[in-house]
């Protein structure tokens, strides 16, 4: 047969036990039950027990309530008052169990009935007594900790029940209300605050109770004659151990300094944003001004350049015309000689005359360029001027064969121009168109009246105009289209530059379009050259009507 297992013995080795028992038999029994693992100090009276505790450290006191120098609960009370830190296990007889139970109520950790305990029970009771005492101590410390927090934090803290009656208020809150805790507990907000404010607090509480959630807000208060103050409020529901809502609790604190700081920060931020906007506006203005200055500077440079070129051109023209005049007279002399009609003299004379004519054309161009002069504007018939100009260039259109197509709008209002100068413009443009078609082609001349859109009123790339047109202005437009090779895009912007030409050597002076543009600008008109989508190029000349 297997031996019965040894009962579980709670381990209490090394425990220092003070055994206060005046009955030797009971004491002996207890010492036996305690066993050798415990360090037992045995005394017979309360006085001896207290003295022993003053001299040595104990983990537990086994206390008989009925001693020779003290009896009943007084024994416990006296011991406790002097050594409250010690766990006490009260021992009683069968007849005084009720007193033992009362002792537990008064702070003893447990009681044991003599004669009804065994080794296991004793050790278990001792261990539980020590642990309970330790738990009580921890609880007290914890309570002290929270008490310290609640009372010392610079916040106002309170609790209310479901009816909105205060169940707790920390010292700071009580001081603010000017009441003691006893005067606060059981009262409602209505007892301390003006009705409107109390109503608001109750509504907030109600919201917390209904939602079961945290409620947070910043409240404003303006004390009479004072500045506005701000309070940060956090309210939350209070639950019991079953999770039922049993009230609300709140914590609030003064955030006036913070809110004022934030307000200042917001204002500073707004000021900064305004300053930034002002700065951006100023920057934009500056950029616009810079753009205008740059544009003006370019115009001045352009004008200076033109002026210098003009002066140079006039000087060159004068100096070259005199030797040309000599050569001209010389050629004329040989033209009248008897051999002039025979070859090769006839060819030589003709070539010389052509060369003279070409040189003279260049010089004339230079003079035209250098003397833009003034324009005498008079109403004229645009179509008639164009027909007259076409007549002037008819020799350019014969070889190679160029077909001329006219799409002239009849009943145009008079154009306000200097007729001779505008004819020079048309002759230049028509000649250019003819030269662009060395293999022949079609030259189309078109006129019409139109009302300018805002986009058209702006200067477009490749166009130059001294006076901007207005949107909605009625203008007369002349278009000259050719079916030639067009102008390469990289050269399109340069066609109005002096001495720039796309023609072969000897064909162009590079001044035709420069002079043309100059004349058009004198008329406050515009000219621009563009390539046509299919082939060829278009010159568009926009002039003002008589009424402008």
């Amino acid at each position: 047969m297997m031996p019965s297992p040894k009962p579980y013995l709670p381990s209490t080795p090394g425990l220092r036990v003070l055994l206060t028992e005046d009955c030797s038999a009971d004491a002996l029994l207890l010492e036996t039950l305690l066993g050798t693992g415990c360090a037992v100090t045995r005394v017979s009276t309360l006085a001896e027990g207290i003295a022993a505790c003053n001299q040595a450290q104990f983990d537990l006191v086994l206390l008989d309530l009925f001693l020779t120098d003290s009896r009943g609960l007084d024994t416990l009370r006296q011991f406790q008052s002097l050594h409250p830190e010690l766990p006490i296990l009260v021992m009683s007889g069968l007849d005084d169990e009720q007193i033992a139970a009362a002792a537990v109520h008064e702070g003893a950790q447990d009681y044991l009935v003599k004669g009804q305990m065994d080794e296991v029970l004793l050790h278990r009771a001792m261990r539980y007594a020590i642990e309970r005492k330790s738990a009580e101590r921890a609880l007290r410390e914890s309570e002290a900790f929270y008490q310290s927090l609640v009372e010392n934090l610079p916040q106002y803290i309170y609790r209310k029940d479901l009816q909105g009656l205060f169940t707790f208020a920390n010292r700071r809150f009580c001081t603010q209300l000017g009441k003691t805790l006893a005067e606060v507990v059981g009262r409602s907000d209505g007892d301390f605050f003006p009705p409107e404010l109390a109503q608001k607090y109750q509504a907030d509480d109600q919201q917390v109770l209904t939602s079961g959630k945290l409620f947070e807000t910043t409240e404003e208060h303006t004390p009479p004659g004072g500045e506005k103050e701000y309070v940060q409020v956090v309210k939350s529901p209070v639950f019991d151990s079953q999770g039922r809502t049993v009230g609300t609790q709140g914590i609030f604190w003064d955030v006036t300094a913070r809110v004022r700081g934030e307000d200042k920060l917001k204002k500073a931020h707004a000021d900064l944003a305004r300053s930034r906007e002002d700065l951006l506006r100023t920057l934009a203005d500056l950029q616009r001004s810079h753009g205008k200055i740059k544009e003006a500077q370019l115009q001045v440079i352009e004008m200076e350049k033109m002026h210098t070129i003009g002066q140079m051109a006039a000087g060159i023209a004068h100096e070259v015309k005199n030797p040309l005049a000599v050569i001209r007279m010389g050629v004329d002399f040989f033209s009248n000689s008897p051999d002039a009609g025979t070859e090769p003299a006839a060819t030589i004379i003709r070539d010389m005359q052509d060369a003279l004519h070409r040189a003279d054309s260049i010089i004339m161009g230079l003079l035209d360029f250098s003397t833009p002069g003034k324009v005498e504007l008079r109403p004229a018939d645009l179509n008639m001027l164009l027909r007259s100009s076409l007549n002037l260039v008819r020799h350019e259109l014969k070889a190679p064969l160029i077909t001329v197509r006219t799409e002239l709008c009849e009943n145009l209002p008079p154009v306000l121009v200097d007729a001779n100068k505008i004819k020079q413009v048309f002759v230049n443009v028509l000649t250019n168109a003819a030269h662009a078609m060395p293999e022949g082609g079609t030259l189309t001349v078109r006129t019409y009246i139109k009302k300018l859109t805002p986009a058209e009123a702006k200067t477009s790339p490749g166009a130059r105009q001294s006076h901007e047109f207005r949107a909605g202005e009625r203008v007369l437009v002349t278009e000259v289209d050719d079916t030639g090779t067009g102008i390469s895009e990289d050269k399109l912007d340069r066609v109005f530059e002096p001495f720039f030409t796309t023609k072969e050597t000897g064909k162009g002076t590079g001044l035709g379009l420069t002079v043309t543009r100059k004349i058009v600008e004198l008329h406050a008109g515009s000219i621009h050259i563009q390539n046509l989508p299919e082939r060829g190029a278009r010159a568009t000349i926009t002039l003002r009507t008589e009424r402008g």
């Binding site: 006039a314 023209a317 004068h318 100096e319 015309k321 005199n322 030797p323 040309l324 005049a325 000599v326 050569i327 001209r328 007279m329 010389g330 004329d332 002399f333 033209s335 009248n336 003279l356 003279d360 004339m364 003079l367 035209d368 003397t371 001779n420 100068k421 020079q424």
Partner: protein, 139 residues
């Protein structure tokens, strides 16, 4: 046929020589060259021209000044003056503008154009004189 006397005043001696040779080749003109602007009036007094061809820009005195002095001179004021200038532009020349009562011809001028112009001016002058004589009462 009576040869007309032409005085050409221009600082460009090669040009005046060319004009002289060309005009004299026609046998219709006797030409005198004057290349010094400051001697223009003296030459005119001495040569007694029927027509003066006058350059505009010359060193010493410009054509405008010389023309004014001719107009102010009793012996010369009836002599027509035609300006030959290198400064006139295409349109000014094409219009054959008279400025201050003078005709301008642009350089380089062709012999044909020059002769035509001179003949017109001389014919107009002759016509003017004829008219004046007709109006003159018999002595």
């Amino acid at each position: 046929m009576e040869q007309k006397r032409i005085l050409i005043i221009d600082d460009e001696s090669t040009f005046t020589r060319m004009v002289r040779i060309n005009l004299e080749q026609t046998k219709r003109y006797v030409v005198r060259e004057e290349n010094r602007a400051l001697h223009a009036l003296a030459s005119a007094h001495e040569f007694k021209p029927d027509l003066i061809l006058l350059d505009v820009i010359m060193p010493g005195a410009d054509g405008g000044e010389i023309a004014s002095r001719i107009r102010a001179d009793n012996a010369l004021k009836h002599v027509p003056v035609v300006f030959l200038t290198a400064t006139v532009s295409r349109h000014e020349a094409a219009d054959g503008k008279f400025t201050g009562g003078y005709l301008f011809l642009p350089k380089p001028v062709s012999l044909k154009a020059l002769v035509e112009c001179m003949e017109n001016v001389l014919a107009a002058k002759k016509h003017e004189q004829t008219q004046a004589e007709v109006k003159k009462p018999a002595a």
